[in-house]
Each structure stands twice: as structure tokens, then as C-alpha cells.
Symmetry: none
Subunit: 121 residues, 2 copies
DNA sequence: GGACCTTTTTCACAACTCGTTCACAGGCTC
DNA sequence: GAGCCTGTGAACGAGTTGTGAAAAAGGTCC
């Protein structure tokens, strides 16, 4: 209705998350999330590479459109913002996983003791 | 298979384990494992020699890229770390087998009762 | 322009992970 | 049992990531 280019609307599903980049919208269990432009773009680029590790450098150039300067923490800060909003919208889930020294990976996982990194003993 | 883009994407399958070195990622039944860089590299080199005994010296030079000093226990320590994480991810399986005086061998085996190696508590 | 609000950027410090190395316990072979 | 080999837990320093908040940059309305 809005767009005449009905080629194909990209819809990214990651567990209970749904991202429709063309509409600048993300939904959690159907409920619209209030995300800023940068937040949504970061989430989108992560979702396009679901379950794969993406380096900060790649994320930065994908979202910001230029080369990341060394020691720039922008990606970390926006990952934090997204985590806070996603946790508020979908408590009990975790989506953005840190791979130390490598980057971030988006995948819907239920957060519970014994699930993640260290299930010692 | 469906990917024609990456000509040489190495994928190593060892039972329920899947290792994709180029993505710095290993999966257990499809679920991403949280491994450090060294852990993944050690697992990768073992997987490349699946079911064959690899000496500590060879493993060290493959993973660390230099000669192992005598009495260096790094390989043992990392074998331990891997075993813990693999056991957490895939209880009931055992992957890294010790060959006394020789080295380690990677092979997916279901851990059987009464084995003796892991005495039940 | 000026007040007011939201978003983005930057910074400082806290918290954590990793790789390394020890020390000691436990096992294996002779 | 002696002596070497392997398993295991822990400590340390360096470097990486998490986090709260201030500063800067836009945007909107009057």
C-alpha cells in the first residue's frame, strides 16, 4: 500500500522476535518495540547473520557505513541498549551473545541456569 | 552444499559435533558452543585428525605455532577445558581420549556405564 | 532564536574472560 | 612401590567487555 515496490518484503524471525527492516519495525511476540534507528539497524544486521559471529568491525561498517576507529565502543554501547530493551520486552530470553575476542552473535535462547557459558561440575 | 559463494568453507563433523573453523564456531547438535579461541583451535586441529592419535608436541605446534617446551602442560589444561564444555553440552558423550604416553585422539563415543574412567559418584 | 526533548557519542571505571603457570592429586607402567 | 605421566583446581596479569552517566548533536515547537 505504501510501497509500490512490492518485490519482496524482508522479514527476519529470531525466536519470538520479528524484524521488518523496510517498515523500520521490530516486534516481540507481536508487540512493537520502541527502538531508535541505530538500534534497529544493529539488530537487523545481526538478524541477517543469525547464529553467526559478527565482528565489531563488520557490524560498525554495516550499521554506521564507515570504518570503525580503534577502541571505538559504539557497538558495545548499542548492544547494551538493545539487550536492555529486549530483556524488558522478553524476560527470560537472551539474544545477543558475546564471543570474547571475536564479536557478537544473535540467537534466541531461553536464559536459565545451566544453559550458557559455564555449567560447571 | 547450497553455498556456491565460499569455495573452501571447511566443516568438520564429529558425531553430534560440528566445527566451522572459518566462522570461529563449533556446534553441538546445532547449538553454538561458547569456546575461547584457543579452545576452538585445539578442537579444530584434533578434528582434522579425527580418530588418530596426536602427540602433545604436534598439537602444541599446530595450535600455538611454536615449539612446545618440555614439561609444558598447556595442552593438557586445554584438553580439560574442552572436556568440561563438551560434557556440559553433550552429556553422555566423550570425545577426547587419552592415549597414555602418546597423546590425544578425538572421536565421538557414547560413554558407557562401568567404563571406569569416569567413576560415578 | 530559544526552550525542550530524544538520540548519539564519548568517557571512566567496574567486572569479567582468557591464557598461562603452579602445585598437588591421581594413574599408569615397570 | 618407585617414578614418570596425566587430571584438576586455582591464582595471576593483561586485555576485553559491561555499564552508568555526562557531553554533544539533532529535531520540534513556539
Amino acid at each position: 500500500m505504501t510501497q509500490a515496490t512490492e518485490a519482496r518484503r524482508e522479514v527476519l524471525d529470531v525466536g519470538p522476535l520479528q524484524i521488518i527492516p523496510d517498515e523500520h519495525l521490530a516486534r516481540a511476540d507481536g508487540r512493537a518495540l520502541m527502538l531508535s534507528i541505530r538500534e534497529l539497524r544493529l539488530l537487523t544486521e545481526l538478524a541477517r547473520r543469525e547464529d553467526r559471529i559478527v565482528t565489531r568491525e563488520d557490524l560498525f561498517s554495516l550499521v554506521w557505513g564507515r570504518e570503525m576507529r580503534v577502541r571505538d565502543r559504539s557497538v558495545d554501547v548499542y548492544v547494551r541498549k538493545l539487550r536492555v530493551k529486549l530483556e524488558a520486552a522478553l524476560p527470560g530470553w537472551s539474544f545477543i551473545h558475546t564471543h570474547f575476542g571475536l564479536g557478537y552473535r544473535l540467537a534466541a535462547e531461553r536464559r536459565q541456569a545451566g544453559n550458557g557459558r559455564f555449567t560447571s561440575h
